[in-house]
């Protein structure tokens, strides 16, 4: 799913767009719908499986889609904590366990 990183191609895209939003050039974040539809065992431990497209392309999105993205991000954050990998040890202090 993730193409080999091509710096020249990336630079060309970045020059006009300020970032690296082209689908396929980046390791894409999971889509909210993918998060919702993925079997529980795949969330988000095996998140490579649920990374079908980037969330940050510049194409316009409607309110409904942005709400879904916000839900997806909340789910991702919650899952990192629920999995026991991300442990908040105090305000603004995070410990990432394991590898």
């Amino acid at each position: 799913m993730t193409r080999r990183f091509d710096f020249e191609e990336w630079q060309g895209i970045r020059g006009g767009m300020r970032a690296v939003q082209a689908a396929g050039l980046v390791e894409a974040g999971p889509s909210a719908s993918a998060i919702r539809s993925a079997p529980a065992g795949l969330r988000p431990k095996d998140d490579q499986t649920i990374r079908p497209r980037p969330l940050h392309s510049h194409r316009p999105r409607g309110d409904e889609e942005w709400r879904a993205i916000a839900d997806g991000v909340r789910a991702l954050l919650a899952e990192r904590v629920a999995s026991g990998r991300w442990v908040w040890t105090g305000p603004r202090r995070l410990m990432i366990l394991g590898r």
């Binding site: 710096f7 980046v26 510049h58 999105r61 993205i69 991702l76 590898r99």
Partner: protein, 236 residues
């Protein structure tokens, strides 16, 4: 002066020894002074872990991380240790990679933007096999691209960094309030509605932890107060 030279020799103040003389960059001294007067996250080189592994050792270290976000945080943690062991301020993750962190990977980007002086990055990343191309340091085999768009934080930002402990090192990420304001500023100045939307996503995801007073004050400073209130009101 003897105290200053002693601090330099001990790595207690940002400095570089060149041709037998100690050199002190004004911007780094200013930033260091700021760090000395601000709370528990002040710069503490004596307590830092040893320098990062070099070259191939770095690749072996990072290969043990399956998660791309955590891999990059671990990389920055190693870089931070190396910077601090040489007497430099710790780099701070900003920009898209900070958004990626606060969205737990929901937002993805390739490059890692850091607040850091460029000298330590030249020295350290060069020894780790990175190639300097213009403003970027690159190791294509690891998929790592580093850029340092600025060398200093503004007053107050260092107090609100998020400290991330990973694999025995520490990486610092710009505070979520500053990341939200940064997105709002991008939204206004780049006419990029999606950046306002991402600010809203982050505000919704971290709402309970936000320092609203600081957030509003920074938004006023950056002339994005109206956009912030829209974001807080909409609650995506």
């Amino acid at each position: 002066m003897r105290t200053v030279y002693q601090l330099a020799r001990d790595g207690g103040i940002p400095s570089v020894r060149m041709g037998g003389r100690w050199r002190f960059r004004p911007a780094d001294i200013d930033a260091w002074l700021e760090s000395q007067t601000r709370g528990p996250r002040a710069w503490t080189p004596a307590s830092q872990p040893p320098p990062a592994p070099e070259g191939d050792q770095l690749a072996a270290f990072l290969s043990s991380f399956a998660d791309p976000l955590e891999k990059r945080l671990a990389f920055v943690g190693r870089l931070t240790a190396a910077c601090q062991s040489r007497g430099w301020l710790p780099p701070v993750i900003v920009g898209g990679h900070a958004v990626e962190f606060y969205s737990a990977g929901g937002y993805a980007t390739v490059d890692i933007d850091l607040i850091s002086a460029s000298e330590p990055l030249d020295e350290i990343l060069g020894s780790w096999g990175f190639e300097r191309r213009g403003r970027h340091w690159i190791r294509e085999d690891l998929g790592l691209v580093v850029e340092a768009p600025s060398s200093r934080l503004i007053p107050g930002q260092r107090d609100r960094l998020t400290e991330v402990r990973v694999a025995g090192t520490t990486a610092y990420v710009l505070g979520v309030e500053d990341v939200i304001v940064d997105r709002l500023a991008a939204c206004v100045h780049w006419s990029s509605d999606n950046d306002c939307r991402w600010a809203a996503v982050l505000a919704a995801a971290h709402g309970a932890d936000l320092d609203l007073g600081y957030l509003r004050s920074r938004a006023a400073e950056m002339d994005v107060k109206t956009q912030l209130e829209d974001v807080l009101e909409k609650k995506v």
